[in-house]
Symmetry: D3
Subunit: 163 residues, 6 copies
């Protein structure tokens, strides 16, 4: 069985992520969405919320696992015995960062391969950060994130406005 | 009457901004300089100072309005009934960020157009951030910012040195 | 009256060009599509065909002129007394070339401004060259070029296959 | 069985290509090296020579097929019923071209996926064109191409020097 | 005597830095490694530690001085009467930032020249920041930094894990 | 004595080249301008003309030699016992090509160092090709090339217009 890991912060999952997950499933029998337990940063959604949103957004796709990891991604991959990492690249902006991480990961674990899939054009400029910024400023995120995420984003920023 | 918005933080206004404003005025009858009320960041100049410096630096140019906005830029543009946003692009460094913002703005408000003007070569590497950094470290900002800004920058960093 | 020039080879006109022309018309009262008389290169469509295809594709848009030019673009602009040049930029690939041309044009004629509009995402990778390549190899160009161009492309490559 | 196509001109095959082929075989059960029958260009090695060099260089790897194609790559892929295309990307220089081709291919055949693998650092600047240039000027290509290719390159340029 | 300055934060010195220092010494009789006294940032190694690690890592190379500076780099260069600044550029990621700094430095002090040397490929993705990140997450930094630095990194992160 | 080679086609020499040559002379006691004998391409100026224009344009600078080379640059450098190659980089457009050549040259001759100097901003978009194009179309090249080159360019294109 061909397996792959799709790692990220997913704070929150966007339609860009879902697009890559769908593509990845055409290539791999099982895709593990691995959510980074990032204790340093200050996420909008806590780990449980992020996992819940991923699960709700991918429930209709077979062959998806959702898991968490901390520490080095390649160590997690080794523990899982999954030797392929999937990364989405967008036409705009993250190419060099992605290359840098892939080269470092290759050095740390040469037996693990990084595979790049290209984001579809409508998502070529989309990021979790930008989605949060737009929502915070009162813009609509319809079509940018799954509906369940859109609803949760509105809740978050309503609460934060009260505070 | 052709109208356009030139948005930004202007912390502080530089000669690069003034160059773009001058070019924009050749294309539009009225240019509204819209200063972002950025409550999160920690600006060097407060909103009143930034507006004052912009007004002093553009007093000699007809057809300039100075205003402030918070929230989404495209919502501000709609309220103003101004359907054109002007952005300067520099040879160095901000192309991808500008494209990302322009694509998101188009999605949020397809009836508003973003127009890019190219910064003149002497300003191709200039930014408000770099100007502040140079001044803070004791370098001259003559020729990089209007004289009134240069004077204010020196005051700021003298005070901050006292503190 | 605000006027602008949209220069190019248009060999042939694509939906990416039409998208930019539509955007430009929201900013300018009249847009002159200026077809480069390029005697050196070996175009697929001769000058008359290119003009005819542009006219057929823009007939439904008011305020469009179609003209030809040779020599320096800025000299043509001066003769036309049109002091604004419009260029489309795509997320992918032509940013640096566009900047180089704009800087040279500014040096040759500082009173003429170059304005950049951003191609819509579905056209972010589109070029006349790529369209011709796809058609030549038997791929469909539906949705990439106006229907009248699609038809002409098929004719061209059928003839060229006979030859 | 997971299958993929690795298309190219391979004029001639380099160690950079071999690196990608090796990586691809860890992900796919069978990799078809598809040599473009490029009648327009003027290759150094004719189609038979290019195929022979690929076969000699990959004889030690199981699960490799060598084939040729002309016309659209996605049409060839459809005829072969192989729905995955592999492309190597190098840190330097070909990112934008690769994205453009992948986006066009996706439009022409949305059911075919393009997968990008990253060239190893020692090959990050390597191309068939550069190898030919170096050899032509009398430089050593040892380590850049398989030995069998190195030998053939020397023969080619010795003959061409006689002519 | 040809002299040059190699400025940086060196938090900590990496094998990429050492590679550039070695190259620089083939071009200049003396290279001054100038460590930025960066009071704002929160470095992993304090100034004394950074200097100590640089000295230990370069003890075997003749013609190396280690010094510190604060304020503008070009003012420091002037005080030292050294009119050449060396910067390493990597294939990935820092080209635009380096150009921006070099252009600003040229404006501030036109008599001081910035010389760029290219990092060797194995270090093309290496940075002090990335090294710290890898070590913090439990990855090996062997081959990325001098042994003395590797040892110190392990100590730092062991202490920080206790805390 | 510190020596360096500044290689190129110089068809013709521009003010951008002269700017780099001047900078290089502040770093090196002698700079050899090495003109590529490019038999394949179709230059505007033949080798003798190119050398003559370089000599006329650099006559006022001490420590300049003008020479020609064919074959591999690094082999020429070895024969000359000059182990440093100077390349100018412009903010716009040639970074990746320059890196590719420098990496290949390092592989072919690790004892030869490539040093990059940054073109001054007014020349950041300038190239011999662009200068020829502008002149051919009737534009002024004053300030872009030395006066002696400007005169020769006008002669060339007048003759070519007669033909």
């Amino acid at each position: 069985m061909r397996r792959a890991i799709f790692p990220g912060s997913f704070d929150p999952i966007t339609n860009g992520h879902l697009d890559i997950i769908g593509r990845a499933r055409r290539l791999f029998d099982e895709v593990t969405i691995a959510v980074l337990v990032n204790i340093d940063k200050n996420p909008l959604f806590d780990l449980e919320e992020r996992i819940e949103l991923i699960k709700a957004s991918t429930a209709h796709i077979a062959g998806i696992r959702v898991d968490t990891f901390d520490g080095l991604l390649v160590n997690y991959a080794d523990r899982q015995k999954i030797y392929c990492i999937i990364r989405g690249i967008r036409a705009i902006s993250d190419y060099e960062y992605e290359l840098q991480m892939a080269l470092m990961n290759r050095r740390l674990a040469p037996h693990i391969e990084t595979v790049f899939l290209m984001a579809a054009e409508p998502y070529s400029y989309l990021s979790s950060r930008l989605v949060k910024e737009v929502c915070k400023l009162g813009g609509s995120t319809a079509g940018l994130v799954p509906e369940v995420v859109e609803k949760k984003l509105l809740e978050k920023f309503k609460f934060s406005q009260k505070g």
